[in-house]
Every structure is written in structure tokens, then in C-alpha cells.
Symmetry: C2
Subunit: 332 residues, 2 copies
């Protein structure tokens, strides 16, 4: 079996660390694992398959001979190193939003549009986390009849802000329990017992950058350039699974039963829908695993061709690390 | 100035306790305050205006000579005592859902449809908490042009389940901080770090009872019998303010500017909308006060006559106790 040389750019963050775990779990055939990070982390060690590996500084010549680079860094880092990665000949599977909407960059959720990945030009983009989770839930239904409109409200975990976001909520719980003053630095406000209805910068149309991703990325992934999306993104005091309340209208009428069947047959999603018995997707149920859970499926009370549902998935895994590794797996 | 005899049915619960506070704050002219509760609590004392008052057992003859009874009990208790309250001649302002949709019972948010209160037949119903908060935000806009459709996703505080809900979240925080096992009894699942996308029983159409209230009660309060609502109700780990993400379509186009002006002029709501500067309604900002905060107002990206907004208000106060006291105040 062929083995590959795999780099992880930004290996010290929450997503980078999870990529290491997912590569191991999936027995990704690796001859060399090259952890890359900023100069600050270079020289430290990470553990991969029981072996300590020294983190190298991400530099232009650090990508030599790699087959894949999994990007778990911010936009500026992704943009800074994309040319050197391309020159090295590696496929850059990038989790940042820097290249997602570029015409020559496929934006891929393997279960939804895996074939798009093969049209790459060196870079394949990993979509936004809420977008991945929402599309995993609605794509099996959209395959029956295309989605025309989608109204979504998100309930996003603190892990979306990385390891620092997780630590901030944990610290706030500890400080609250001890009666200490609650501090915040990662989020603009206290997140414990609170909701922050803004993720990313606010644009001229009043929508946050995070809210626009569901429309812009969703159109590209579903190949539905006219799909209209009205999204509200909200940070909630949850550790690591994102949830989405979605109401959507399809061209043709799809019954609740047909929608349930489509979801139960689709890969990567789990129908989890028995509200009367308290069975519905919840962050505590969906964390630390790869499936997107879908429940509360019901007819829209507004549009004849509409449905409503609730879905939930681990933001660090299927919303980021797992999806990136799955993209690389398409090339094995 | 005339003074009134006021009973509180269910005085020991979270809403009953808040009613006491609101009556005091608003200097409600009271000659007798009569706290009523189950036999279990009878004989205990509550403090009103610095005076200890003995709780009486709620019985058929307990309402004699009262002018108002503020109901803070569950449906079965409200139904049990409604005939005796009526016989006593008191106006029963009831916070349960037992009578809300009865034709001869006004369902009132004073700022929205205060005049309806005067058509009462002994009972005036206080609406559902999420319904009050959502309508406070959208009613000033609906006065410009009627709402045809409304998609809402709620983020509901644990206080909606009463004092027991508040205690359960507080206990879970304390137990988590001490590394103890987390227990739940009020909610079907752990609520700390979690979301529970079901409030109330699930009906035949797949919607929960809480979700249907926004449509059924909203139509009655706004006098819009054909308004269509698709609602998803979710319990979140927040103490006492409910938040709602709403997208709605009006008959005529209303600009964001017109909507903001309508809200800034309306009573009981506060325009709190400067997302770029991290100013938006949040539970921590809106708790322990009476205003419903409205922000994130923007054009709907789906419907030409649509708008989206985010609103937040204290569920125990404007969502319950304050609204009930305000209804009684209409009769002073």
C-alpha cells in the first residue's frame, strides 16, 4: 500500500490537534508526519502514533516532498504559504476561509460533492463548520429536489474560536463556581450563561461574515447558485458541537417521511428523531464523533414545499478536522 | 387614591416571587396583599414591603373580596380555581396557558393590544413568555404593515421551567466545577454545555406545544388570524432571559431604517443595534429589567418584504410577572 507524506500547518491549535487524532483513527497511510507551526512552537514535540515528533517552523522550504498539507491555520498564514505549498507539489487541503470562494479552488464536503475535489489546482478548501453541518443535514433532501430558500439560526459552540474559546468557557465556569470575577478576552462578552449573536465582522448588508458563509459556500457546494439563505449566527455556552435550526423550501414537495428516508440512507448523517421520547440531536450526544445528527423533522407551517429540522455535529471533527482528512482520503 | 386587594396564586414559584417585586417597584396601590399557594406552603411567610405576610392555602373561599388575582400557577391549578375567582368578582390575570385561546378571554400584551383587556369576562390571559418577547420586538413593525409569515428560533433560559430550572443549571455548574457527577431531574437531559431542542409535548404535526404558541397566541394578540409561523423552541444554558432569532415578511416593504425608527419610538422595547461595536441584545444585558431589547435588524436575503432581527428579554419579568402586573395596571 502506498504511503504518503503529510504535513499539518498549524498543528498546535484545536483543529490541528484533532487532525492528528483523525489521521490516526482512520489509519491514514503515512510514511512521514510533518507537524508545522509558528516559530514560537517550533522545537516542541507532538505525539503521533506513540512517537514524539518535533514541530518544525512553517517556512517556504518546509513543505518539500509532502503529498498533502492539511491547513489548520488562519487566513493570513494560509495565504502566506499557499504558493510554497503549491510549488512543493503537495495538495493543500485548507481549513481557512481564504480560498473557499476562488473559482479554481474546489470547496468540498466529501459526502455532498466529493467529485468536485478532483478539479483542484493545488488547493482544496474545507468549508465553514456551520456550513458543513447544515449541508450534511439538508443535502440528502436537496438531492430529491433542489433547495430554493433556507432560513437558518445557529447555536455555535465556543470551540469555533479554537482552543482559547474552549478554555475561556471552562475558566468562566470555574470562576463562577468559586465566586470569582469572570473575565473574557477571546469573546467580546462573557459567554457563560450568555449568548453572543454575532460571529465575525458585520458587513454593509448587516450580516456577519459567518452568516454570509452559509449562503456563499452553500451555493458552491450544492451547485445551487440561486439558493437564497437568511442566516443568524449565535455563539452559545456549549463546548464543541454546533447546532442549527433550519427551515427550507424545495422546488417540489418532499414529505417528512421522504426526508427521513433520505437522511437515514445518507452517509455521514444519523437520523435521530423521536422527540416524544426525548430523542433529538444535542451537543452532548454529538461531540467527539463524526456523524451529523438530524432530528425534529417536520413540515414547514408557512410554505407548502417547506420542511423544518434541527441538526447537530461536532464542530472540530466533521465541521473541520474530519472533513479535511476525508478530502485527502479521496486521493488515496 | 383607590387601593386594591390583590391575591397572588402560586406565590412561592419564580414568577409569583417576581410578581411581588414588580408590584412593589411599580407602587401598585394595594390595601391587602394576599399570598396564596398549596397546602404545603400555607403558614409560611413571604415579605412584602417590609412586612411578613402569612401564605394562605388556595381554596375556593380564599379569593373573597379580592379585586385582582395574579395567577402564577400551572394550568390545572388555574382551571381548578377560575370559577371561584370569578365568583369572588376579582379579575383573574392568569399566566398559565389554560385559557389563552378561549374566545371570551383576552390575551394581552399591554403595549401591543392593551385595549383587548377591557373585553374580559373575569379572566385575562398572560401570553407565553417567548411569544411576549417576540411580539414586543415585531409588533411596532407590524403596525406599519401586517406580518404575513414569521420564522422564529428561540434560545430559552432555564427560568422558563421555574425556580427548579434555575437551581438545576446552578447545581450542574457547581457539580461540574467540583468534578462531581452531573444530575438532572427538571430537564430531560443535562442542560449545562448542552441544548435541548424540545419544550413541551410534541403534537401530531411534529411541533412542540411551545412552538405552536407563537403562531396561535401571536395571531390572537396581533389580530392577524392568517399569520403563518414556523417556530423551533430550544432550551439553552442561560439563566433568565429568552432570546429569539426572527425572520418575517410583511405585506408591504419596510426598510431597515423604518423598522429601527418604529422600535425606537415604541414603548417597552429598546433599540440596541450596533453590531460593529459589539452592541446587540444578550441575556446578561437584558436580565432583571423590563425592556425587550432588539438588534441585528437587517433585510431578509430571501424575501423582498422581509426583515430579520434578534431580540432578548427577561422571561420572568416582561415574559411573565411584569406583563401580568401591567395588565392589572390597565384597570387602575
Amino acid at each position: 500500500m502506498k504511503e504518503y507524506k503529510v504535513g499539518i500547518l498549524g498543528v498546535t491549535g484545536a483543529v490541528g490537534q484533532e487532525m492528528l487524532k483523525v489521521l490516526t483513527e482512520r489509519n491514514f497511510p503515512i510514511s512521514e508526519l510533518r507537524p508545522l507551526a509558528s516559530a514560537k512552537s517550533a522545537g516542541k514535540k507532538i505525539n503521533y502514533m506513540g512517537e514524539d515528533i518535533v514541530i518544525q517552523e512553517a517556512k517556504d522550504d518546509a513543505f518539500k516532498d509532502l503529498d498533502f498539507v492539511l491547513g489548520a491555520a488562519e487566513n493570513d498564514i494560509a495565504e502566506r504559504f499557499a504558493p510554497s505549498i503549491k510549488k512543493s507539489g503537495a495538495i493543500f487541503v485548507d481549513n481557512s476561509s481564504a480560498f473557499r470562494l476562488h473559482d479554481d479552488v474546489p470547496l468540498v464536503v466529501p459526502e455532498v460533492n466529493g467529485n468536485d475535489a478532483f478539479k483542484h489546482n493545488g488547493i482544496i478548501a474545507n468549508p465553514n463548520c456551520s456550513t458543513i453541518i447544515t449541508l450534511m443535514a439538508v443535502a440528502p433532501i436537496a438531492k430529491i429536489s433542489p433547495i430554493k430558500t433556507l432560513v437558518a439560526s445557529t447555536y455555535q459552540a465556543v470551540s469555533g474560536a479554537g482552543a482559547g474559546g474552549l478554555k475561556e468557557l471552562e475558566d468562566q465556569v470555574a470562576d463562577y463556581a468559586q465566586g470569582k470575577e469572570i473575565k473574557n478576552s477571546v469573546f467580546a462578552h462573557q459567554i457563560l450563561f450568555n449568548l453572543i449573536p454575532k460571529i465575525g465582522g458585520i458587513g454593509d448588508n448587516g450580516y456577519s461574515s459567518e452568516e454570509m458563509k452559509l449562503q456563499n459556500e452553500g451555493r458552491k457546494i450544492l451547485h445551487l447558485p440561486d439558493m437564497k439563505v437568511c442566516c443568524t449566527c449565535v455563539r452559545v455556552p456549549v463546548l464543541r458541537s454546533h447546532s442549527i435550526s433550519a427551515q427550507f423550501v424545495t422546488e417540489d414537495k418532499i414529505s417528512v417521511q421522504e426526508a427521513k428516508e433520505a437522511i437515514s440512507k445518507a452517509k455521514g448523517v444519523k437520523l435521530y428523531d423521536n422527540g416524544k421520547n426525548e430523542v433529538y440531536p444535542m451537543p452532548l450526544v454529538t461531540s467527539d464523533q463524526d456523524l451529523v445528527y438530524v432530528g425534529r423533522i417536520r413540515e414547514d407551517l408557512i410554505n407548502e414545499n417547506g420542511l423544518a429540522l434541527w441538526c447537530c455535529g461536532d464542530q472540530i471533527r466533521k465541521g473541520a478536522a474530519t472533513n479535511a482528512v476525508q478530502i485527502a482520503q479521496l486521493f488515496l
